[in-house]
Amino acid sequence: MIDPQVLERHGLKPDEYERVVQFMGREPNLTELGIFSVMWSEHCSYKSSRVHLKTLPTEGPQVLQGPGENAGAVDIGGGLAAVFKIESHNHPSFIEPYQGAATGVGGIIRDIFTMGARPIALLNSLRFGDLDAPGTRRLLEGVVAGIAGYGNSIGIPTVGGEIVFEPEYAGNPLVNVFCLGIAKQSDIVKGVASGVGNAVYYVGAKTGRDGIHGATMASAEFDDRSAEKRPAVQVGDPFMEKLLLEACLEVMQTDALIGIQDMGAAGLTCSTTEMGSRGGAGVEIDVSLVPQRETGMTPYEIMLSESQERMLLVAKQGREAEVERIFEKWDLHASRIGHVTNDGMLRVKDRGVVVAEIPNRALTDEAPVYRRPMSEPEYLRQAQQLDLDTLGPAKDPNAALLSLLGSPTIASKKWIYRQYDHMVRTNTINLPGLGAGVVRIKGTDRALAMSVDGNGRYCYLDPYRGAMLAVAEAARNVACSGARPLAATNCLNFGNPERPGIMWQFARAVEGIGAACRALDVPITGGNVSLYNETDGKAIYPTPTIGVVGLLEHADRVVSRRFQESGDAILMLGEGRGELGASEYLKVVHHLVRGVPPALDLAAERALQTLLVTLAEDRLVRSAHDCSDGGLAVTIAECAFDTVGIGAEVSLEGVDVSRQSGVNVAAALFGESATRVIVSAVPEQVTAVLRHAAAAGVPARVIGQTGGSRLRIAVAGAIVIDQSVDEAERVWSTAIDKHFVQRVA
């Protein structure tokens, strides 16, 4: 019977249930209630976020497929498309880090090959609590092993990503995974069901009781009983997915398919409903025909299971044998579980008896949409106040630099990316840790660059500006590699939207993303929203992560962060404005999370990015590295790392050093002013670089040269940093490793 307890277990509010009854014209049975509960969950329906997401720019001549399909697609020339998306798997990864992360990777890969694209690259964006905090290492090890276990086995390289450690994520880590694939534009497949009588096939792993109500779980906060939710986390099987991937791509070559969709969140329910809805049709299935791993499963369980590695597809009439034969080749059995109808209903039978019957529209278009109340959170005004004069005397810049290089957020992530196969498929031309991930496109001269970025601390202190800065940084990283940014995908990780302060953060962040994407011409082609990222009522930093994809016309002109040779000129493109607010420096050295994030002039940002692409195309720069976390000094140090010790001699002029505290020196060295890039060029080409910069309206000047074995930085004529490259690199490269005692087998 459907009583308040049943409703609560299903995460449905009483007024939402009223709406269900209205649509149905009767009380739903339990199976139907289960179907409504997952389709109307925040995770599937985007009910809190939809009104805001609608404001994002999603169009442009380069966009072949915007939001609404399994993934977005952009034109990359030569009749090819890049298909990509980012998704979160935060809640499952906290409950069971290995499987949570692994199935996150599996899910995003399915979204890509479902579109008819061969997945060729993965990225991830991770957030954990302090590395010293209890539990963090276990979570980090589990998540990294899960990503590696899945990606390595299936053979898709993880070519980059980012990881941030902040105490705010201790109780709710973030695992956002991005996948990119390549398809012929003419081969792009959609997730539609149409053509009355066409067969609906189920293929892949058998259905078990794992993951029932995963979507509902992902739409609730955590508390100390969260571990009890472990059965709601699914178990991944990358080998099964590899078979599915190869078989599905082979089937798609035959033109015998109408549409295909993976069974991700809300499993069979979501795939049948969405495919029918997109095709303006209905889908009728019989759950007794669904391959089952366990005995005695009810229709409710079968419809709600989130067992992994399963696909739903609709074949053209008369072509069924062809489809079945290809799956047999891969030892997969395609089961015919139903057919397409023209009545717009999701009809579920069990041995011929109807057990659920719901109009698709009620589950999709008519799902609740909320304009939740919003208000600026109380902490904000106070937290934005920053008086540099109260900081006291600045720490010795040499010591501050080493502290920053040893901060796990800035330090080398080699311990992590070494566990990912980042070279399989032999396309990776910018390895992890060198900037944006770059993969060449075989059979062409081109390459694709991709980067995911986000700064939760910035967004906590100003969600609008923080979100703009995330878009700008991801696009800038792509441009630094020499690629022209094309489009973006976003993963919006926030707390409980029923709190006005959180909803305000969300709305402001979406506005910021929209503004930046419009100005930089990187439309959003899809993504994912993850709300209720809270534990015991404490929300994470608002964390939009942005993935940007760009195109390099000539793969062999790719640029990395590393200095290439001694004696090259070091130039700064853009200008430092001595902004210390919200910086890693304040956090690491002064233990302060205060102030406002750096200002961002979107027109200047666009000009800088265009300039970077030109400089790479004309082979005028030999390295390029974005100034972000840790500011200029950290950026220059990073340019020197992994180069077999090419140092740098840099001099910064025009800094007012009259303040006794030395805070202006710190701001010049470690401030995170946006829209700045450090490039190196052979001396003969400096004039050309400066000329191009002037033409683009980008401030540019020579600030030093590469060479020697030390990092030396002078501010207003006085040397303030003088550090051996080897020593600095040792601190940077061991900061994460040292937390993990290597066990010897």
Binding site: A145, A148, N152, S153, I154, G155, D237, P238, F239, M240, K242, L243, E246, W330, D331, Y417, R418, Q419, Y420, D421, H422, M423, V424, R425, T426, T428, I429, L431, R440, K442, A555, D556, Q742, R743, V744, A745
Partner: protein
């Protein structure tokens, strides 16, 4: 010459080996499905990297039962050149075409990175274009590359000069820190007694193009192409029999 590249379900470096053979070295190449019963006239067989059958039981443990392995074994016994890369090496061990076994890496973690390798022997079809002592930089990507064999077997391998490549530092010196996986005697590649079957954990196909950051893997492909060009097939078989 024609490369035959075996595709097991779960192979994931098959396309990379194919690309190297065909697009980089301009040779004929054909995929051999694991259920196939013949080698389609291949002159050299590559068992590529990946996770054949998911490697859930033990790496390579299932793949050795695939139908294609019977003709591969017969080809190897006739002296035909067979190269197992990474998972392919693991499969050769399970199939008994090479001696020994693989354990998990000493750090218990998968490792993907460039390593330095010293060439130990050049009288195999896959190292003939290299010189003894030459140091190659080639990527690895594996979780189970910790080669193990009992001491008497290792002694025999060394006495027979069956160790082809060893993990070293940049200068070609063997030391513990330079071994990514803890292999006994820093063994990175082996050949059989007849020297025509070679297994190696590093991925030469990942280091054949300057764009990918290194070309030291080319010597492996150059060797087999030169071996084939220098000797007609019967002669090649004779090499196999004479050792």
């Amino acid at each position: 010459m024609k490369f035959g590249i075996v595709v097991f379900p779960g192979s994931n470096c098959d396309e990379d080996a194919f690309h190297a053979a065909k697009d980089v070295f301009g040779q004929e190449a054909e995929y051999l499905w694991h259920k196939d019963a013949d080698l389609k006239g291949a002159d050299v067989v590559i068992l590529p990297g990946g996770f054949a059958h998911g490697d859930y039981l033990r790496t390579g443990a299932m793949a050795r039962f695939s139908p294609i392995m019977a003709p591969v074994r017969a080809f190897a016994e006739r002296g035909g050149p067979v190269l197992g890369i990474c998972n392919g090496f693991q499969i050769l061990l399970e199939a008994g075409l090479l001696p020994g076994a693989m354990l998990r890496n000493k750090g218990l973690k998968y490792r993907c990175e460039h390593v330095h390798l010293r060439v130990e022997q050049t009288d195999t079809p896959f190292t003939s274009a290299a010189s003894v002592g030459q140091v190659l930089t080639i990527p690895i990507g594996h979780g189970e590359g910790n080669y193990f064999a009992p001491p008497d077997m290792v002694e025999r391998l060394e006495a027979n000069r069956q160790v082809i490549l060893r993990y070293t530092d940049r200068q070609g010196r063997v030391d513990e820190a330079s071994s990514p996986n803890g292999s006994v005697n820093a063994i990175a590649a082996l050949c059989n007694e007849a020297r025509n079957v070679v297994g190696m954990m590093p991925h030469p196909e990942r280091a054949c193009e300057a764009l990918l950051g290194g070309v030291d893997g080319r010597v492996i492909f150059d060797s087999i192409v030169a071996t084939f060009r220098g000797a007609e097939r019967p002669a090649l078989h004779a090499v196999g029999r004479s050792v």
